[in-house]
Structures are given as C-alpha cells and as structure tokens.
C-alpha cells in the first residue's frame, strides 16, 4: 500500500486597493506594463516601504478564518536573491515571526471529517512578471522583458502541514480555501489570473516496505483542476520510481500545462541561500487584543460553518449543502426560498439543477436573475395542487427567467394548466382504443409496453398538460377492463 503525503504552500493576492508598501493601486491585472509603479515598488535608491494597514487587517481575517493563533507581535524580514523581477534584490516577507501560526481548516471528505493543519500564515510582497524570448526561462532566452506592475502587490502565504492524503483532497482543500477567502472578501480566488497560487510538496510512503520517497515540490500550478492533475502525475511518477527501485530526487518540479506533466526545475543543491535578516526599514508589527477581537466580531459566516448549518437547519444532503454553501449569495438565496416555501429539499433540488443550469447557460449571475422566492413559492404550490406537472414546471422555469413573470400568470397566459378531468381523459383514451384495436389486442395478449402508445396519444392531444399519474391510471384501467 502506498500512502500519499501532501503539503501545500499557497500564495493569495490580497484585494486591497493599494499595494503592500506603497500607494500604487494593487489591482494591476492586464494593465499596460510598467504603468502602475513608483519609486518604492521599483526599488529606486532611497525609497522606503510603509506597511499598508489593510494588508494587516486582511491577513488577520484569513488567520482567524483558518483558526490560527495570531502573533500580536510579528516582524518583517528580507529574503535576498537576484532576479530582474525583484527590483530591490530582496523580497519583504515575514520569516522569523509570522503574523499567524498553528491553525486548521476542517471539511468533510467522502463522509469523513478531515482537518488540514495550517503551519503558518505570513505577509509578503509579490514580484514582477517576465516575458522571455525564444525560451521558457531567462537562461537561454535571446531577450527578456520585465513588467514591474505586480511588484509590491500584497500576498499572504499560507503553509499547511503535510496532512493531505490525495490529489483530490488537495483540490478540495484549495476550493474550500478559495471559497473561504472569497467569503472574507480578501482575495478574488482566481487561480487562472494568478490571484491564488499553489505550490505542492508530495512524498509517497510505501507502508509495506517501510520506505518513504524524497519530498518533491511542484510549482506553477495555475488551476484547481491542475492541482489534482499535477499531483496525480507526480504520485504515479514517484510510485513507478519506488517500484522500479530508481531514485526520487529531492527537487523542485514545474507543472507543464501544455504537456500535462511535471518537469524538473532545480535540485535541492541549486537552491539559493536567501540570507534572511530582520527588515530594518519596518518596525515590528504590534497588534492589540482589541484589534483582533474587533476583526473577529465582524467576520462573515464561513463556507464550512455555512455548509454544516445548512445540513443541520434544512436537512439537505451533504452534497447539496456543499454546492450551495460554498457561495454566500447562492446559499442565502436558497435559504430565502426554503423559508418562503417551507420546502427546503425541493428548494435545494430546483436551485441545484434548474437554476444553476440557467445561470450557467445564460452566463447571468444570480443577482441579475429576475426571479425571487415568490416564483418558487407559487411554482411549488402549482405542483402540489397538481395544476401543473413536473414536466410542465421544467418548461415553465426558463420562461420565468426570460420574462420575470410569476408561474401562475405564465400558466394562465399560455394555457398550461394541468388537465385532471378524468372524463375528458377517458374520452381521449377510448377514442384511441377504437381507432387502434390492434394495439388493444396486443396489450391484452401481454405486450404491456403498448400502454405507452395510449399515454402518448393523450399527451399529444392535451399538449402534455394531462396529469401524468391520472393518465397512467386511466389507460391501464380501460385496457384491462
């Protein structure tokens, strides 16, 4: 048996208005290169960093949401290395004393309670971006361009303990973390845009032979899907090496998006000595208990809390609660519908299937949809009173969204009421039996499947409005009499 051991290092860009240490705007995505810069974030001689207080607030929010212990006194440090996208020649980070430590994120995975411990959260600044000509990296490039817009954009780095035991679990953790950061409104969570980045450490333990592979770090994973894919690839690669007795190097690998595989970047020996030391330009960060308490009081409900509450209060299945609870807007819409209809299970079903389908199909966000709890309330009443069938209700749904009209009004306008009149249905069935005696004979000889023909005939004549249960019952009765 092989055991997979995964730990993650996640960088989350904080969605503050300005950068971490200067007053340049922080949202620089796709802006003209080198236009959102100043003496501080381009490392001009003499420029000094000044800490953005919002960054601290956001980091504390994340730390509290991830159940961390907040260090009321934390320090800033310099991580020194040379690279063209790092204008000062060092990154300001928190190495010796981070703002928060020892937390966890709990969730349900395959019915089990799972808890991934958080080792630390620290504040740091982002580097710039480079484009290389004729090569993937600066070595071998015929030329390289640097865009310093992203320099100084605030990040928090979240480091987990190696508590994750499968690639799929890693992906779920990342998704829940994204949902949590979004609920806190401190990070857009877009992996594709680089607002959330994930480096993963993976090693494999061969429990039978008591062997453990070296740890491999996988960098450059830029989507939730690839978190799973890259780790699956790496797991297979390491297991194969263990089975064939070849070495697993302690190294850093990068996820190659195009080839769908990981490629070796550098070995452990090639790693920099970052020469960490206390940042003399920034005094230690001192927080008060009151400050932390104030932030704690204002924390919104977090996805995991919400999921548990939805299960508890509405009795919906874990899967439904997870889908609904991961998004604050969707879950509060669900709760409104559940309360006004008093039918939480139906509400959940209709929202999870019909509403989400329409949202995806039309690309319109929920808050722009012209329907509210009232629509669901009336729709459920029409169903309960058998005024419409489920089939008709599903036809009604997109019409409601197109027009914003209430379902009873649409039913009236378009004559979609269900036909429950047994006499009327009997007449149609009898007429059909008269015009097709052969089918009647077949049924009576045991070909029960022919029944569908008569049901279809009724539906055709009533344009689908006949009560399906009533039709089935009447057809069977008349054919068997």
């Amino acid at each position: 048996m092989y055991k997979t051991v995964i730990g993650l290092e996640i960088h989350a860009q904080l969605s503050t208005k300005t950068k971490a240490f200067c007053s340049c705007r922080a949202d620089v995505f796709e802006l003209e290169p080198n236009t959102v810069i100043c003496p501080v974030c381009t490392g001009q001689p003499g420029a000094l960093p000044v800490l953005n207080e919002k960054v601290v607030e956001y980091a504390v929010k994340a730390a509290l949401a991830l159940n961390c212990k907040i260090n009321l006194r934390s320090t800033f440090d310099r991580k020194n290395y040379f690279y063209p996208d790092l204008p000062k020649g060092y990154q300001i980070t928190q190495y010796f004393t981070p703002i928060a430590e020892n937390g966890f994120l709990g969730f349900k995975f395959d019915g089990d309670e799972k808890r991934v411990r958080i080792r630390r959260i620290h504040i740091e600044e982002d580097a710039g971006k480079m484009i290389h000509q004729d090569a993937d990296s600066i070595s071998g490039a015929s030329g390289s361009l640097v865009n310093l817009n992203r320099c100084g954009v605030p990040l928090i780095e979240i480091v987990t303990e190696p508590d994750i035991s499968s690639p799929k679990e890693a992906r779920l953790f990342m998704e829940l973390l994204r949902d949590t950061l979004r609920a806190l409104d401190i990070c857009s969570g877009d992996m594709e845009k680089g607002a959330l980045r994930c480096d993963a450490n993976i090693s494999i333990v061969d429990e039978e032979r008591g062997l453990s592979s070296n740890r491999v770090e996988v960098k450059n994973i830029n989507s939730f899907k690839f978190v799973e894919k890259a780790l699956e690839f790496e797991r297979e690669r390491i297991i194969k090496a263990l089975e064939t007795g070849s070495d697993v190097n302690r190294e850093t690998r990068t996820w190659n998006f195009a080839k769908r595989e990981t490629i070796s970047m550098r070995s452990k020996e090639e790693e920099n000595d970052y020469r960490y030391f206390p940042e003399p330009d920034l005094p230690p960060l001192q927080l008060s208990d009151e400050y932390v308490e104030r932030i704690k009081e204002r924390l919104p409900e977090l996805p995991q809390q919400r999921i548990e509450r939805l299960i508890r209060e509405y009795g919906i299945p874990e899967y439904d609660a997870t889908v609904l609870g991961s998004n604050a807007r969707l879950s509060s819409f669900f709760e409104e519908v559940a309360k006004s209809t008093d039918k939480p299970k139906e509400a959940s079903n209709w929202i999870m299937t019909e509403l989400l389908r329409e949202i995806n199909r039309r690309g319109i966000p929920l808050e722009k949809m012209p329907i509210g709890p009232e629509h669901f309330k009336i729709l459920f009443e029409l169903l309960e009173q058998e005024k419409i069938s489920v089939k008709i209700a599903k036809e009604l749904f997109p019409l409601m969204i197109e027009t914003g009209k209430l379902p009873d009004q649409l039913v009236k306008e378009r004559g979609m009421e269900q036909i429950n009149d047994e006499k009327l249905i009997e007449d149609i069935v009898l007429r059909a039996m008269e015009s097709n005696p052969k089918a009647v004979k077949q049924y009576r000889e045991g070909k029960k499947g022919v029944m569908g023909y008569f049901v279809g005939a009724v539906m055709k004549e009533t344009r689908g409005k006949a009560n399906p249960a009533a039709v089935n019952e009447i057809v069977r009765r008349l054919l068997e009499s």
């Binding site: 001689p45 003499g46 000044v50 020649g89 000595d273 005094p283």
Partner: protein
Amino acid sequence: MKGDFLDLKIAELSKLSTDEKREVLSFFHERIVAFNSELNAFLEILPIPDSLSSGSLSGVPYALKDNILARGTRTTCASNILKSYLSPYDATVTARLKNTGAVLLGKTNLDEFAMGSSTEKSAFGPTKNPWDLSRIPGGSSGGSAAAVAAGLVPFALGSDTGGSVRQPAAFCGVVGYKPSYGLVPRYGLVAFASSLDQIGPLTRCVDDAFTVFKTIAGRDINDATTVNGKIDLRAKELPEADLKGLKIAIPSDALDFEGLDERVKSRFLEFIERLAEKGAEVSFVELGILKYVVATYYLIAPGEASSNLSRYDGVRYGERVESENYEEMIKKNRDTGFGDEVKRRILLGTFTLSSAYYDAYYRRALKIRKMISNRINEVLHEHDFILNPTAPTLPGKFGEIGDPLSYYLMDIYTIPANLAGTPAISIPVDPVDGLPVGIQLMGRRYADLELLSTAKQMEKLSGAYNNGLAKIPERWLHV
C-alpha cells in the same frame, strides 16, 4: 557688505531683503565655482534659481551630500554604478528644505555609498581638507564638511551611519550633528545601513544646526522608522542651558585607547578643565563596551549594506555592461560599478548573513548591539551626557592609512551613538598645529534639544569660533 555674509548665522541670512538674498546666493555660488577645483567638495554644482520662495529659510543656500535625492539632480553616491542616475523624486529632507525656501546649490562628495571615513573612497576623486589640502577631510560626508568649513555654503546635509557627519565635522573644524534615530526621515537617503543611518546637518555653529534640524525633523509618512511626538520642534530658539551642575561622563576607556593621538587627548583634557571651571560635574566612567563597538558595527552595517546595495544590478537604472546573459550582466555591472571598499563590505555582509554563519555572527552582533545600547543608556541614566573626542586622531595625509582595520578604528568614538540610536554632536575646540580637533557630546535618546542647548554653551569655551561661528581658514576668505 559682501564678505560679511560669512559672518551671518542662518537665521540672520533668512531675514535679509530679497535683493540681499540674491546677493547672498551669487556670493556663495561664486565661491563654490571658484574653490571647488581645489577642494573637490562638490560633484554637481547647480545654477541659482530665477525666483526665490518664501519661508523660514528663504534664500539660504545649502548643499546635499550626494546620497540624498533632489529631483532633477544626479544622485551618484560617488559611485560609478550610479554616475548618471537622475533623482526621480525629492528626499523628504529635500522637500522640507524646499518648502521653507532654502536654495540647493549643489551635491557634495562622499566615500562611495558613504562607506568610508576619509572621502578617499569616492569614485570621483577625494575631497581636500580646507585646513590643509594634503590631508583628508574625514568622511564619509567629507564634501559637505569641507564645503561648510571653507564657507562655500552656510550649511550642508550629511548622513551618519557610524560617524559620517561628526568625524568629518571634527576634521574640518565645523559642527556636525547626528540626531536621535527616528527624528529625521530617511526617505530619499540612499540606504547604507538602514538601522544606523541618520541624516544630520553640518554647520558653523550649534544654533544653525538647530535651525536646520527643526526644518528637516519630524514624522514622515514615507518612513516607518520615524517617530512622532518625541520632541517639541516648535521652539524658535534653543532653550537656555547651564553648564553648572551638569553631570558629564568621560569614558576612561576612550582615553586609554592606544590609538588616541596625544595631541587630541591633551586638547580634550584642556577642554574638560574649562568645563569643570564652569561648574560642570565631570566624572570618569569605564564604559566597558568600547572594545566591541567596531566589531559589532562591522557585522551589522555590512550585513544591511549587502542587502541594500542588491538593487544596483543595472537592470532598471544605473550603468550597464553589455553581456551574453543575465548572470554575466549583473556580475559585470557590479564588478565594474562598485569600488573596492564597497565590494569588501558587500562580501563581508553576504558572509555574515549566510545561513551557515548567521547565528554565529549577525545574530550575535544584534545581541551585543543591544548590550551596548543598554550600557550607554545606563551611563546616561546616571549622567546627563557622555563626552569624548570625536575622532582618536587628527586628519591624516591622503593614503596614510592603508589597512582597513586601522581605517575602521577612526570611528570608534562615534559608532556607539549609531548603535544606540542616541543623539550626538561634534563641535570644534582649539586646533592643534593648525589642524582642527572635535569633541563629541552624546545625550539620551530624543533629548536632542537638551543636547543642542548644552553644546551651544560649550561653544563659548572653544577657541575655534569667531563671533559665534566656526572660523574659516584664511585661504578661503576671499575669492
């Protein structure tokens, strides 16, 4: 009237009429142009502006050490790597002086990146000592000290990391003041060792030092290490001080230091006698930390410097040497851009910060720094001030000190104030053999006003002054 401008304090210059101020500017500008070829105090001489702005220092000319940014001027740090770097913004001190109407006439020479004590380490040639052109002016703010000593500007700003304002002031016979760490913003001062650097004025009297200090000090939103509310800067003039009853500690280990020149020592002891005559309570105290200060400083300052100077890679600005690839490019840029002393300190700092040696050197140096601070604070708890010679020697001849270690020992008396963040001021006392001698008064952290008031009283006991201003050598009195 003309020659009389050299006899005016800054407050008096700022009160002249607009026409007189124009005369003042031309007067000093002419002197800079006339004398700089001999002194090499200036790296860049600026034209007189067309119009004067109002303010408390309106029309008062000054110079900036060339590691302080002033928009539109070059800021070279006396280094080849920045020889054509144009300042894109104003340092906070520059902006504050501009706002009060002071007029920047030039940028002064220094040891490259302020790393040195003689201004010999400038990539653009040494500055000469105005008292003896064959001698060093001290450093690293040697250009600023020489400019003020020769009367080329009424004041100049320098930066002091281990004595770089006070020691050249002592060697050039002027006043050099390093404020408490955190009182004067460093934004726009090219960092050497951030936890030690402090900008300070070089002037010809303590009153002028106070006037300049008042203008440049105070919390800056661009410098997180500046402090607020520690000192009241509203006073128009320095409060009166009385030497009588002042408790002054004389570090006996400073006087026992084998590198102390006998002539400096005797001048210093003479001055102590005068202080005692005025009623000061002078006592000899064993500091016990002096043997650690230079080593501690040369672990911490190069460590910070190695990181602060990483940005000079030639990628975004500065000189660039064409190369085959990135690594070769930054190696060549830094190899040809930096001088030997800078390289020596970068190497030293890179070593002490490396993960294998961090605990053994840098972390221990931080601990010893704390210990030194504690000891200084302890002595300053029992005494009002600590007084010692500013430098152990008289200004030497160019090239006289060859080995780095003796060179570094020139700062032994000045470094403690940087390590402890305390304020210290050097004032000139009676010269020896025609060469200036300075004494340093150090006070409690943030007790800068008390320090300046007391130093002002001490000036009265010094033979280096004439009508309240430090004497200018005969050679430079007339153009």
